[in-house]
């Protein structure tokens, strides 16, 4: 199964069509649309499915877990201070006797939502703004890039810090929006650059000449061809959003006590990592597993979307150009 077609192979006669299809349709004869094919390819990727199950499991745990526990994150057990895990408190307790399981679950609720939403919003925003600026150019490009540059030079941390008291008590969604608003600019610039090159490709022109409206060209041809970049960007953003929120919380903005997030738990208990490890290890462990799972899903999605990905193990290092010659 060799699908090695590189730019050097002008006529494209080598390599191709020598074997069977890379993805034989499970139901032969029925043509598939992109969506279905991507789904099938994604489902084949075991690691990505594991990642997906882990994320869903964490959600379930974070929201159902506290209901099953008799402890709540804002009540204390005055008979147990700094106890290591035992049957009563399965994750142990902290120094004022709060149940660590309840705390971790509460933190997980916050962090799961903040991490995923911020990544989703900021990457979507980057894709839309970057692609629109690159595709339309002219005034739209000037205006959008001006906004991007402006946000890049503004110290985001300071602004969120200043605004934080104002949205204290208001919806957590505002915090998500603020975090997202300061994460998308650099990606947007990269996306714009990639759009400029993609725009000149003939398949984009072909779509234009068949009457496809601009917004559909962007959605159907331009953004999917940048999927690898966007997915990697989104997976990185999940982690950094959780950490950014930690940073804010550390300074007393963002999630406020007695409410907790994974970030505040990790930040607050980091110094106890060696002395009372359960205070640190449980929240940190959940964060690691969460980011790892997101990465697996992201990888799976990228492979599913990328038609050239064959996931063949490399035996010998080789230069594809030699083969084409």
């Amino acid at each position: 199964m060799t699908v090695i077609l590189n730019e050097g192979d002008a006529a494209g006669t080598t390599g191709a069509a020598s074997g069977g299809p890379v993805d034989a349709a499970p139901e032969p004869g029925k043509a598939m649309t992109r969506g279905r094919l991507v789904l099938i390819r994604f489902m084949r990727n075991k690691l990505a499915l594991v990642g997906l199950v882990v994320i869903l499991g964490m959600y379930l745990m974070a929201f159902v877990g506290p209901l099953l526990s008799k402890w709540s994150y804002d009540t204390q057990d005055y008979t147990a201070f700094l106890e290591p895990p035992y049957s009563e408190h399965i994750f142990g307790t902290d120094k004022i006797g709060t149940d660590m399981f309840a705390l971790t679950m509460r933190g997980l609720q916050k962090s799961l939502i903040i991490g995923l939403l911020v990544a989703l919003i900021s990457t979507t925003m980057a894709a839309i703004v970057g692609a629109a600026a690159g595709y339309f150019l002219g005034v739209a490009d000037k205006a959008l890039m001006w906004v991007v540059d402006l946000l890049l030079v503004l110290p985001s941390f300071l602004i969120i810090a200043i605004l934080s008291p104002w949205f204290r008590g208001k919806s957590w969604f505002l915090l998500v929006l603020m975090l997202a608003a300061f994460q998308w600019m650099i990606t947007a610039r990269i996306v714009r650059g990639m759009t400029l090159t993609l725009k000149e490709r003939e398949f984009v022109k072909a779509a234009k000449f068949m009457g496809q409206p601009a917004r559909k060209i962007i959605a159907k041809h331009i953004v999917p061809n940048m999927a690898s970049l966007l997915i990697i960007d989104a997976t990185i953003n999940v982690g950094s959003a959780v950490l950014a929120e930690t940073g804010l919380s550390y300074f007393g903005f963002g999630v406020q006590s007695p409410d907790v997030s994974l970030g505040t738990l990790i930040g607050g208990n980091a110094e106890s990592a060696t002395t009372f490890p359960w205070l640190f290890l449980f929240p940190a462990g959940f964060l690691v597993v969460f980011v790892l799972a997101v990465n697996w899903v992201g990888d799976g999605l990228r492979d599913a979307l990328d038609p050239t990905s064959t996931r063949v193990r490399r035996k010998e290092k080789k230069d594809t150009k030699e083969k084409a010659a």
Binding site: M1, T2, V3, I4, L5, E7, D9, A10, A11, G12, T13, T14, G15, A16, A17, S18, P21, V22, D23, A25, P28, G29, A31, M32, T33, R34, L37, R201, E202, F203, K205, A206, A207, F209, M210, G211, Q212, K216, K220, H221, P224, N225, A227, L305, D306, P307, T308, V312, R314, K315, E316, K317, K318, D319, E322, K323, A324, A325
Partner: protein
């Protein structure tokens, strides 16, 4: 090196008898993910001093790899066995330092892409001087002087000045000349030219071939010319070797191979080339299938799966190269050579007979006289200019590029108009103007009677249904992330076809272009260039258009695959009554497919008319030069032909010459008396009728036979 007369000294070493290059049983293989790629499998050939050997084959046949092996330029991962003897000296096994003494000094190479063969940061003169300094102990001044002489020799005007120019200031043809100058700088004994003309325009191609001939004359070197185009080598090479799947499948004298090819693959290659000199409809032979994968070749003849003459015996063992027709020179690797010899027909005609190619029927609509047919596309004095701006903050307009300077033509129902010209003449701009359907800067575009300056968004959208496009590069024209199904369905989705209708029509279109509907769920990356071009055509036909704009649809394809696509286009035209606007720089393809042809030069149409009339009795000097530059795949004819060589390159469209735009390169203009020359300089020639459906824009138009 005291006189400028001194050009090429006699070889310093004693002249070695026998061949310059003797390759025996050469094997080259590379490691890859799916096993070893055996790129060259047992190749033997020799080149005598002063001889030109042509190596022909499709991409992936191992022709480049074998010559890189001679140069010792293969990567270290390649495994090379066999023997390469250069003037009796074994090259395999020598280390890089030893080879470096031979490379560039005794053996030199001309690469395909002249842009990447020159370093962009050094001047051309310095680079040529460097080639001399590396191998000879001469002073820098002497080397620089020699570089200028060499540039002069390869026909670069004003060589002293141009030696100080950087590669980007040279045009493609001039760069290739500079590369050739570098190749002959040290008076080599062997020149290897790897597709030296593929990246160039036809007129420049003729110049470069001529130059290689000159280079061979002055150096007395043997030349190995590698090409995929049998036409290029017909008049130039002495002997020919056809390669397939890493082996030589036929070799012999040029005349013998062209007239009595004895291997079906050679026959197929010959039959697949559209001929410039064949007036009546010629049947093109497509070679079906793909070259085999070089990792796991089956037993037996590697060509067997694509061969029309295949018998069971072909699958048992790979046939060796055997002498045919009792000639020592001519050898072919086929077990049925005698049967091929038994057919009466010669060359390409035998191919048509054996491969069973057919000429597509005339479309129904073609029987109606042209005047009575509906005009599908009309261009009236179309103008497109680009401003040249300078300055960063305050943009000033410092000039205008007159990309298209008032062109008019029309295409009627069921008709093919070929639009030809060198690169930079405004073909693509014209095409984009037509496809954009915006109000032109000047003139008028009308599609099916609707003027583009008067349409609104809705009407424009409706017109797009009747007009579709096929692009040149099949790699870039399909979205790599969409399945073939989605690709072909896209235009129908845009124009609001129902799901059921799309699901019914997509497999139908696949069958129409000769592909299997089972492949619909694959991605474009899994198809070959020819198949992808078919998919592009299927997409273009999805909306049942009346006009298909074809932008060099076959120029990125191998010849054998090109023939299949051309046949498909002709068949579709007659079946569906389509009109084509066929943009190409290959005049032989245009002769084959077009009904009418328009020749463009610097944004103007200088000759237009019925294809046979224009090709057989060209009136404009430029058309004559273009036609004479196209090689004909027939060595006898090719040697007799007189070639009109155009001097120089296309002038800049930002500053076109006054009067007749062609006059700066015109051989006719140069031969005229001064008072008539003045007319060329002062008055722009109008397009005048020369014969029935034949117009040309020249003050002194006269017929000149060039085929």
């Amino acid at each position: 090196m005291t006189t400028s007369e001194l050009q090429f000294d006699a070889p310093a070493d004693a002249v070695v008898d026998g061949p310059v290059l003797q390759v025996e049983d050469l094997h080259v293989s590379f490691p890859s993910e799916s096993g070893r790629v055996r790129a060259v499998r047992g190749l033997s050939y020799h080149v005598a001093p002063g001889e030109v050997l042509g190596i022909v084959g499709e991409s992936g046949s191992g022709k480049s790899v074998s010559s890189l092996a001679v140069m010792g330029l293969l990567p270290s991962s390649a495994r090379i066995t066999g023997s390469i003897k250069f003037q009796g000296r074994e090259l395999i096994g020598q280390n890089d330092a030893e080879l470096s003494r031979i490379r560039g000094r005794r053996i030199s190479m001309v690469f395909q892409d002249p842009l990447s063969a020159l370093t962009p940061v050094f001047t051309v003169g310095d680079q040529i001087a460097e080639a001399i300094l590396v191998h000879r102990k001469v002073s820098k001044q002497a080397a620089a002087k020699r570089a200028v002489e060499l540039l002069d020799l390869v026909g670069i005007p004003n060589a002293v000045e141009r030696a100080k120019a950087f590669p980007h200031e040279f045009s493609g043809g001039m760069r290739q000349r500079a590369v050739i100058a570098m190749a002959i700088a040290n008076d080599p004994d062997l020149i290897i030219a790897d597709e030296p003309t593929t990246a160039l325009d036809v007129t420049v191609q003729a110049q470069v071939l001529q130059l290689l001939e000159t280079a061979q004359e002055v150096t007395g070197a043997g030349i190995v010319i590698i090409t995929h185009d049998l036409g290029v080598v017909a008049g130039f090479a002495d002997r020919l070797m056809v390669m397939y799947a890493g082996r030589a499948v036929e070799k012999g004298n040029v005349d013998e191979i062209y007239q009595q090819p004895r291997m079906p693959y050679t026959l197929g290659l010959l039959g697949s080339i559209p001929r410039l000199d064949v007036g009546e409809k010629q049947a093109l032979v497509p070679i079906k299938g793909q070259p085999p994968s070089l990792t796991d070749l089956p037993d037996g003849c590697p060509f067997a799966p694509r061969c029309p003459m295949v018998v069971d015996a072909c699958h048992t063992a790979e046939p060796p190269l055997m002498d045919v027709d009792g000639s020592v020179e001519h050898a072919a690797a086929c077990i049925r050579t005698n049967e091929i010899a038994a057919t009466d027909a010669e060359g390409a005609e035998a191919a048509v007979e054996i491969f069973g190619a057919e000429v597509a029927a005339e479309p129904e609509v073609a029987r109606i006289p042209r005047e009575q047919r509906e005009i599908v596309l009309g261009l009236d004095n179309l103008v497109k200019e680009y401003p040249i701006n300078k300055g960063v903050v305050f943009k000033r307009r410092v000039g205008t590029v007159h990309a298209v300077a008032g062109i008019s033509f029309d295409i009627r129902e069921g008709e093919t108009l070929g639009l030809v010209g060198e690169s930079g003449c405004g073909k693509t701009t014209t095409l984009m103007e037509i496809l954009n359907l915006q109000k032109p800067m000047g003139g008028e575009i009308s599609v099916l009677g609707t003027k583009s300056s008067e349409v609104d968004g809705k009407r424009r959208f409706a017109i797009r249904r009747d007009m579709s496009v096929v692009f040149q590069d099949p790699m870039a024209s399909l979205d790599p992330r969409l399945t073939i199904n989605d690709c072909i369905a896209e235009p129908m989705q845009v124009h609001g076809y129902s799901k059921d209708e799309i699901n019914r029509r997509v497999p139908e279109l696949m069958r129409l272009v000769g592909l299997r509907p089972e492949q619909l769920s694959r991605y474009p990356g899994e198809f070959s260039g020819g198949q992808r071009q078919r998919i592009g055509i299927a997409r273009a036909l999805a909306l049942e258009p009346k006009l298909v704009v074809l932008d060099e649809p076959v120029s990125a394809l191998d010849v054998s695959i090109q023939a299949g696509v051309i046949n498909l286009l002709e068949e579709l035209k007659s079946k569906l009554g389509l009109a084509y606007l066929f943009v190409a720089h290959d005049l032989s393809v245009v002769r084959h497919i077009a009904d009418r042809v328009a020749v463009m030069y610097l944004g103007k149409i200088i000759e237009i008319g019925e294809v046979d009339s224009v090709f057989e009795a060209p009136r404009h000097p430029y058309t004559q030069a273009l036609l004479s530059a196209i090689p004909i795949p027939d060595p006898v004819k090719e040697r007799q032909r007189e070639r009109i060589l155009l001097t120089g390159d296309l002038p800049s469209p930002a500053n076109p010459p006054s009067g007749c735009r062609f006059r700066t390169r015109c051989f006719l203009h140069a031969s005229l008396p001064p008072e008539q020359q003045r007319q060329c300089i002062e008055v722009e020639p109008p397009r005048e009728t020369q014969a029935a459906d034949h117009e040309a824009a020249c003050h002194f138009a006269q017929i000149r036979q060039v085929l």
